[in-house]
Amino acid sequence: MLDDTGPRTLFDKIWDRHKVLERPDGQTLLYVDCHLVHDGSAPAFQRLAERNLAVRVPRRTFATPDHYVPTSSRDITTIDNPEHRFLVEQLAENTAREGVTMFGLGDPRQGIVHIVGPEEGLSQPGILLVCGDSHTSTHGALGALAFGIGSSEVTHVLATQTVWQRKPKSMRITVEGDLAPGVTGKDVILAIIATITAAGATGHVIEYAGSAIRGLSMEGRLTLCNMSIEAGGRAGMVAPDETTFDYLKGRPYAPSGQAWEQAVQRWRRLPTDPGAVFDTEVTLDAAAIEPMVTWGTSPQNAIPISAAIPDPANEPDLDRRQGMEKALAYMGLQPGTQMTDVTVDRVFIGSCTNGRIEDLRAAAAVARGRHVAPGVVAWVVPGSGLIKRQAEAEGLDRILVDAGFEWRQAGCSMCLGTNGDIVAPGQRCASTSNRNFQGRQGPGARTHLMSPAMAAATAVTGRLADFRTLAGAA
C-alpha cells in the first residue's frame, strides 16, 4: 500500500491497520476493536432487534450505565422518572440478551463510560474504539483512535463491528516547555481551545505532542484528549510511552504475562515517524499557560483566572462580537469584571473530564482544613465506583465532607443533568466538566469551566479563585 511506504503518523498507522475496505470516493470501512455502550443506547438496540440482528462480536462490546443513574443512591428503584429508569433497565436487558459484559449499578466497576474504559484496561494503544458519546475522544490519551458516533452508527457497530468513515485530516498541537506548578491538563486544553477556537479542529484528528504533553500524567492526558471535541476535533491522541504502559500494566483487560511483553513491543512502534507530515500544525508555549476559567457559553471563551472579562467592543469581527454580547447577557456578566470577583452558587467536581482519582486528590488538597463558603452548594461526584472506593481508602471523602462538600455516587450527573442533577435557573456553577453551553447544566444555568483545584478553591471562597493564592496552598 502506498501509505505504508513513507513516514506515518500515529493516526495513519491505526487507521491503516483497521481498514476492512475502502471505496473509490474515500469512504472507508473500519474495524472496531472495542465498542463501549451506555444507558443512552436503548434506541440503538431497539433498531437492532427490529431487524432481527444480533451483536456481531459481544466480547468486543462493554457496557455501563452513566447518563441516567442517580448519584444519591445505587438503587434503581429510586429513579422516579420512568423514562430514565426504563433506559437503565433496558441496558441491563439488552446486554444480558446479547451476551455483552455490563458493569451495572451494583458493581463497583460501574461509572462514566470514559472513566471505566481506561480504568479496566479496555482502552489500549493502537486500538480503534467507538462509543455513542462525543467525549469518546478521551481514550486517545492511551494512544488509541477513539471517536464518538451517533445512535444509528451504534446499531451499525453492534451489527457489523465496523464503522464507515472518511479519513479526517491530521493536526499536531505541540506544547513545548514546562507547565507552571498547579497548571493541569484542563488548563492546557482550555488554553488550546481559546487559541484555535471551538471550530479550530473540525474535520481533524489531533495528536498532542511536545514536552509538556509528555510530562502530563495519564489522568492529565485523559482530560486533555477528552475535550478535543470542544475544539471540533474528531479525536485526540497522545503517543504511547512509559507513562501509558505504567498506567495500563496489571489492569483487568490489559494483556498479561508474555502477551504483555509482545503488546508493549508492538505499541513502541506506534508513535509518529520522524518526518511524517500533518495537515495542520499548532504550537503553544507551556510556560505561558495559566490556570484557566471560562466566562461565556463556549469552551473557547477561556481566559486566565487573573484576567478580566473581555469587552465585545474590542472584537473587530461582527459575528464574534454579537456572539460575545449574547454570551455575556446569558451569563449575567459585565465586560471588564475581574474573573476573581465573580461569585458562584454551585460547585461541581466530577465528569468524564475531571472525575478521576488525581482530580479528587487535587480538590481534597485545597479543601483540607477549609470550609465551603456560606450559600454555596458543592458536589463531588467520583467518575466510577472504583475511584470512589480508592478515594475513601485514602480518606479524601472525609476531608471533603468535613469541608462541607457532598460526596456522591458515580455517574455523569451535573455535567449535563440527564439524570436530573441540574443547576437551578440563573444560578452560577463552577464546574470541572467540559461544556459551558447555554442550558447545559439545566435551563438558565450559568457554567464556568475550570480544573478541580480551581473549583475547590472557588467552593471555599465563594468566588472564582486561583487556588495558588489561598494561604498555605502548595
Binding site: 441516567y68 464518538g148 458516533i149 457489523t160 474528531r234 459575528d319 454579537q322 456572539g323 447545559r440
Partner: protein
C-alpha cells in the same frame, strides 16, 4: 423511516451565530423521550418557548413566514458538541430535510446521512449571502437537487456542493448503511481472520 432524499424546494430558516451546539437544538432533558412520541416540539426548545410553554416571538422559527421551513441554514461549526442523534431527529420530525453551513460538527453531519437528511457545506461568503437573502425576504425558498448536486438560492443563483458518491447513492436510493455493510460480511470475516492471526487484540 425512509432515509431517501432526492431534493426539495422549501422555505429556508436562517439560524445565525457560530458554534450553535446540539444542546441548543435539543436540550438534554428530552433525550430520554421515546422517538415514537415525536421530537418536533423539542427542536430548539429553550430558545423557542418560555418556561410557561408560550412561544418566544423573537425566535425565528416562531415567526409566521418560517414556520414551514424545511431547509436550515447556519454558520461555522453548526450543530457542534454532543453526539445526540436526537438533534437530527428533532429537525427531521419537524420536517427539515436539508442543513446548509460553512462547517458542521462532524458527528451531526454523519448523523444526518443516517436519517435521510442532507448536510451541505458551502463557502462562508456564500452562506452569509444566503442568510442575508433569507433574512431580507422571510419565507423565500431554497431549492436543493441532489442528483445534480446544486442549491438554488432565492435570487436564482446556483451553487454546486460536494458529496461522497457513497453517501449520495444511499440518500438517493434510501439505502441504509447497515444493509449495505451486511452485504460485505465476507470481507469483514476475512479481515477478522487475518487480524486474529496478527495477534492485534
Amino acid at each position: 423511516m425512509s432515509t431517501q432524499f432526492t431534493g426539495i424546494d422549501a422555505v429556508g430558516l436562517p439560524v445565525p451565530g457560530q458554534n450553535v451546539d446540539t444542546d441548543q437544538i435539543i436540550p438534554a432533558r428530552y433525550l430520554s423521550r421515546p422517538r415514537e412520541l415525536g421530537l418536533a416540539e423539542c427542536l430548539f426548545h429553550d430558545l423557542r418557548f418560555n418556561t410557561d410553554g408560550s412561544e418566544k416571538p423573537d425566535f425565528v422559527l416562531n415567526q409566521l413566514p418560517f414556520r414551514d421551513a424545511r431547509v436550515v441554514v447556519g454558520e461555522h461549526n453548526f450543530a457542534c458538541g454532543s453526539s445526540r442523534e436526537n438533534a437530527v431527529w428533532a429537525f427531521h420530525d419537524y420536517g427539515f430535510r436539508v442543513a446548509i453551513a460553512p462547517s458542521f460538527g462532524d458527528i451531526f453531519r454523519n448523523n444526518c446521512f443516517q436519517n435521510g437528511m442532507l448536510p451541505i457545506i458551502l463557502p462562508r461568503e456564500t452562506v452569509d449571502d444566503l442568510l442575508a437573502q433569507l433574512q431580507a425576504h422571510p419565507g423565500v425558498h431554497v431549492q436543493v437537487d441532489l442528483p445534480s448536486q446544486t442549491v438554488t438560492f432565492p435570487d436564482g443563483s446556483q451553487h454546486e456542493f460536494e458529496i461522497d458518491a457513497f453517501r449520495k447513492h444511499c440518500l438517493l436510493n434510501g439505502v441504509d448503511e447497515i444493509s449495505f455493510t451486511l452485504e460485505q460480511s465476507a470481507q469483514i470475516a476475512a479481515f477478522e481472520n487475518r487480524y486474529g492471526r496478527e495477534n492485534m487484540e
